[in-house]
């Protein structure tokens, strides 16, 4: 009991202090171009204090940028789940399907978003103004669906024979078997997949925005790099990290709920 505050407040605080110190020391020694912590704070202040300000297309409060990014991620992520979950079910249910498609999945899975994005842009070239958004969505969906696909498949294969026997003895219809047995039994696995997919979707968004120059945290980061305002790169990195962390926590709360159910 006594160590609770120490563990959860003091220790992380010490960790942050150590990193700040290293940062400060680096600025003074080998990384002359790296803005110092205080300088970073000074320059970032308007973006943090007025997080929803809109001063121009690429000059907006940091949370406003985050909001744009989150919307795009939500769309791409939804697409990934809608496509990935059924594929996972087919992989889990059919060995033939697995043998046919597992190799190609294993090959496509490690491909970087940076490689997919140009293909996405090419695919939706005809969409004109929307090409960059559609390309980004395509990239997010393609990159982030794999954990959902694989975990769903594992979850379906892990369904204990007992449950399948119950379905057989009761002669449940296909629909009932799916909704009363298969889906509930594999939900805990599916949610692990969903959580991992969300993490990847958030990784991809930054890359996608950087390449397409869309307004958002990633786009802002790249623009400020080109404008030599390095403080904002750090602001963006911290924002991306914190948002990613929060998303992961939220998903694992949901995930835990299903694991103990």
């Amino acid at each position: 009991m006594k160590s609770f505050k120490f563990d959860w407040l003091v220790l992380p605080f010490i960790g942050i202090a150590v990193v700040m110190l290293l940062w400060q020391v680096s600025c003074a020694t080998w990384a002359k171009d790296l803005p110092t912590p205080s300088k970073t704070w000074e320059t970032s202040k308007p973006y943090i204090m007025e997080p929803f300000a809109k001063r121009g297309e690429m000059d907006q409060g940091i949370l406003r940028f985050t909001w744009y990014s989150l919307i795009l991620v939500a769309k791409g992520y939804a697409l990934a789940l809608i496509i990935g979950t059924p594929i996972g079910f087919f992989l889990g249910l059919s060995k033939t399907f697995t043998k046919a498609f597992d190799p190609i999945i294993q090959v496509l899975r490690p491909v970087s978003p940076l490689a997919w994005l140009p293909l996405g842009l090419v695919l939706f070239m005809g969409a004109g103004k929307n090409a960059s958004e559609l390309g980004a969505l395509f990239t997010i969906a393609v990159c982030s669906m794999w954990p959902t696909v694989l975990n769903t498949a594992v979850g379906v294969r892990a369904i204990p024979q007992d449950y399948l026997n119950v379905a057989k003895v009761l002669k449940l219809s296909r629909r009932k078997t799916l909704f009363k047995v298969l889906i509930p039994a594999s939900l805990p696995y599916m949610f692990t997949g969903f959580r991992l997919s969300l993490g990847i979707a958030w990784l991809v968004i930054v890359a996608a925005e950087m390449l397409t120059g869309r307004p958002g945290v990633g786009g802002f980061l790249w623009q400020e790099y080109n404008a030599l305002i390095y403080e904002h790169i750090i602001l963006c990195i911290i924002t991306i990290g914190v948002v990613g962390f929060i998303l992961d926590r939220l998903m694992s709360v949901v995930e835990k709920k299903f694991k103990t159910a």
Partner: protein, 301 residues
């Protein structure tokens, strides 16, 4: 022709023969117990009758019709209870009732469920999930679910093996009561000769595997209802027990040693995706951590 018939039934998994030339006939309304060692093939035998497995050779018939698939006319109570953990007691039974009596109104179905929950004395637990119940209560739910389907024949696969002695005795009495109330045909699988003799009209030992087969049938000439206390002093009971145990030990002519194997009961732990996955990964059994259960299995030295 008897109500339930097994004719020269053999079952192998790949190259390993589990059951060989099993013959059994059970009359309508009869209560037959089959005793056998762990791993002899008892679950395999009951799965053949249930239609969950098909025999490698031979025929299983019920009322003269060959059994090829499971059906609600044969109610099976599984060794591991097999309740769906995401459904409450009520919902688990309702799922069965809805499946077996689809033409009934919702009210009729619900009333039917309540009746059977009441019958196994679980009304206070009706809205609980299986994980909140004790082993004995889970088994009662499982029995209620099966009875609610109103099957013609009850197949009980070691329904009480996983329970402590006291709960076991209580549930044995409950099975005896259900038997006298419903006059159903019952096939009980057990690893305890005493349990078989106490409950059944007839008890048949299954020889030790592999290639297990049924031994001679021993009639239990003790009238129902039987009294647990006095039965222990009954000469006929003692005699029967001796004969059955002798037969079973004799069938174990080759020495077997027991090992314990881990039976994993349903619960789910997601795979760690950081572990590299090979193309054959679908073969890999997933990790299910909680609720592991030890079961003794006979193996040859």
């Amino acid at each position: 022709m008897a109500y339930l018939e097994l004719k020269n039934v053999s079952k192998s998994f790949g190259n390993s023969p589990v059951l060989k030339d099993v013959n059994l006939s059970v009359e309508s309304g009869e209560f037959v117990a089959i005793v056998g060692f762990s791993g002899a093939g008892k679950t395999t035998l009951i799965s053949l009758i249930a239609g969950l497995l098909n025999p490698t050779s031979g025929l299983v018939t019920l009322n003269g019709a060959v059994i090829t698939a499971p059906g609600p006319d044969r109610g099976i109570v599984f060794q591991n209870y097999s309740l769906l953990p995401w459904l409450t007691v009520f919902e688990n039974i309702l799922l069965a009732v809805e499946a077996v009596f689809p033409s009934w109104s919702a009210e009729q179905q619900k009333a039917h469920v309540e009746k059977y929950i009441e019958m196994v004395n679980l009304t206070p637990a009706r809205n609980k999930k299986p994980s909140e119940l004790s082993g004995g209560m889970r088994q009662r739910v499982s029995v209620a679910r099966t009875l609610a389907m109103e099957p013609q024949i009850l197949l009980l696969d070691e329904p009480l093996s996983a329970l402590d002695a006291l709960t076991r005795a209580t549930l044995q009495d409950e099975i005896a009561r259900i038997r006298t109330q419903h006059q159903k045909t019952i096939v009980l699988i057990t690893n305890d000769p005493d349990e078989g003799i106490y409950l059944a009209d007839r008890i048949i030992p299954l020889t030790a595997g592999p290639s297990a087969t049924l031994g001679p049938s021993f009639e239990v000439k003790i009238p129902h209802p039987r009294d647990r206390k006095s039965i222990n002093h009954d000469e006929h009971f003692k005699q029967l027990r001796r004969e059955i145990v002798d037969f079973m030990l004799g069938s174990k002519s080759e020495r077997h040693t027991a090992i314990t194997k881990k039976l994993i009961l349903p619960d789910i732990e997601p795979e760690d995706l950081n572990i590299p996955r090979s193309m054959t990964a679908w073969r890999k059994t997933p990790i299910r951590k909680r609720e592991q259960k030890e079961e003794a299995v006979e193996v040859k030295p």
